[in-house]
């Protein structure tokens, strides 16, 4: 039903290892396409009007009893509201627990290189990428919270151990997030911190924005579980 496409308002490519941000307006959707396969997109989301309200990993996981994201699930803020709904997904599993890389991890895995040496191919890390993009909106380390990783999968075994699953996303796979509020999206295409590949090889993605209908009373994300019905109610009240 969501594939009855309205035209893209615009689209662009986020280059490998690059950062990106945008205020997703309520009533639009962000589609992210893995252009080459094995992409990873680290993402954190904020209520643009009041960024101290922000994506909350535990509230998202425990409201829906999930440790993965796909169609029908939503991303909760820490105020009981729904920032974004996953309205389409060809991957089936996006990681909400694995976190992001930092400079120490990236140096250890891929070696030290500078801009002077490598120009724009110098190895980027997720934490610094988040902080750079947050800084453009007047935000900083106190606003850095648990992120999601689109296109990546981390399995958890019975003893709690975490395993990155290579090849989770193929070229052309995509996920679409509908903005239920005016959402500041902070993204980067750094590799997943648990990606075992010793090669620094971040991948590009395409982002596209389009207008979408308001969620109907029988919207799949709204009716997927009673918690989400209440989450939509609280979100809609915010705009009354």
């Amino acid at each position: 039903m969501y594939m009855s496409a309205t035209p893209n308002l615009w689209e662009e490519t986020i280059q490998p290892g690059a950062t990106w941000s945008h205020v997703l307006k309520r009533g639009t959707a962000l589609r992210v396409v893995d252009l080459e396969g094995n992409a990873n997109v680290g993402a954190i989301f904020y209520n643009f009007e009041c960024p101290v309200e922000r994506y909350n990993m535990p509230d998202t996981l425990k409201a829906q009893h999930i440790a993965r994201l796909t169609t029908g699930f939503v991303l909760y803020s820490d105020m009981g509201r729904i920032l974004l709904s996953v309205i389409a997904d060809t991957v089936g599993w996006h990681d909400p627990i694995g976190g992001t890389s930092n400079v120490h991890l990236v140096e250890k895995k891929y070696g030290l290189s500078t801009y002077q040496e490598s120009r724009n191919d110098y190895p980027k890390n997720g934490r610094d990428s988040f902080l750079i993009e947050l800084g453009k909106w007047g935000l900083g380390p106190r606003d850095l919270v648990a992120n999601i990783n689109l296109f990546s999968r981390v399995d958890v075994s019975e003893d709690g151990s975490m395993t990155f699953v290579p090849g989770n996303s193929k070229a052309g796979d995509s996920v679409e997030l509908r903005a239920e509020m005016n959402v500041l999206a902070i993204l980067n295409t750094c590799q997943h911190p648990l990606d075992p590949s010793p090669k620094y090889e971040p991948r590009p993605v395409q982002v596209a924005i389009r207008q979408v209908p308001v969620p109907a009373t029988d919207d799949p994300c709204r009716i997927s579980r009673p918690e989400n019905g209440r989450g939509f109610t609280l979100t809609e009240r915010y705009f009354l």
């Binding site: 509230d59 009981g80 709690g160 209440r230």
Partner: protein, 223 residues
């Protein structure tokens, strides 16, 4: 109390004597607690009555923007459960504390803290008035009066809680694995600020709908 057998537990008892603790305090259910630990001090939380959730956040005492990170902690040890040997990692990659003893065996850091708003989503819109951990956090940091705000409240540890993830990617809330008198003990690796909410949740069977007191103890050293 549950006697559930769990895998991955790593039970290590402390050698510290309670009589040598320099500080002891009982935190009643629904109360917050905030205090600094100096580098090298040992910090124990005792689950006095069993299966009580102790929602806990840690900060670098000299820079509160450098704070406990659930994702960095589980990512570095590649395991979602906290137990003896776990290094509690900050957002800047600093080791804040190390868990040195644990008689429970498994602690959660994915389930987060309850809030008025999350209770409305999880249970019913009418639950907004019920006392919640994030209200306790906000009260404690306001009284602490060092410029902290909701921006500083982030994903916490739930000591003594059992929140497994299945191979299908489901998050489940299982019966507790703690019992009266079980404890977890940490060594501060730098000066840290500890912020606790002794969870008042009445809507969740994880604590048998009965929040209870816990005790915190501090030692100056392992001697």
């Amino acid at each position: 109390m549950s006697t559930t057998t769990i895998s991955g537990k790593n039970l290590i008892e402390s050698k510290l004597s309670q009589s040598k603790a320099i500080y002891r305090h009982e935190i009643l259910a629904g109360e917050p607690w905030i205090r600094e630990l100096r580098k090298g001090q040992y910090f124990r939380i005792v689950d006095l009555h069993g299966n009580q959730a102790v929602d806990t956040l840690f900060y670098n005492a000299h820079d509160y923007s450098d704070r406990y990170s659930a994702q960095d902690t589980i990512q570095q040890q590649r395991n979602i459960y906290l137990t003896a040997g776990t290094k509690l990692i900050s957002t800047a990659g600093t080791v804040l504390l190390t868990i040195v003893a644990d008689t429970c065996g498994r602690h959660d850091t994915l389930g987060g803290a309850c809030a008025n708003e999350s209770n409305m989503v999880r249970y019913a819109l009418e639950k907004r008035h019920m006392h919640a951990c994030r209200s306790s956090f906000l009260k404690a940091i306001t009284e602490w009066d060092h410029g902290m705000s909701k921006r500083d409240i982030t994903s916490n540890i739930n000591f003594f809680m059992n929140v497994p993830v299945t191979s299908e990617g489901k998050l489940t809330f299982e019966d507790g694995i703690s019992d009266p008198g079980k404890y977890v003990e940490m060594r501060a690796e730098i000066d840290v600020l500890v912020l606790i909410s002794n969870c008042p949740q009445l809507n969740n069977p994880c604590n048998a709908y009965n929040p209870t007191p816990v005790e915190v103890l501090i030692w100056d050293s392992a001697l």
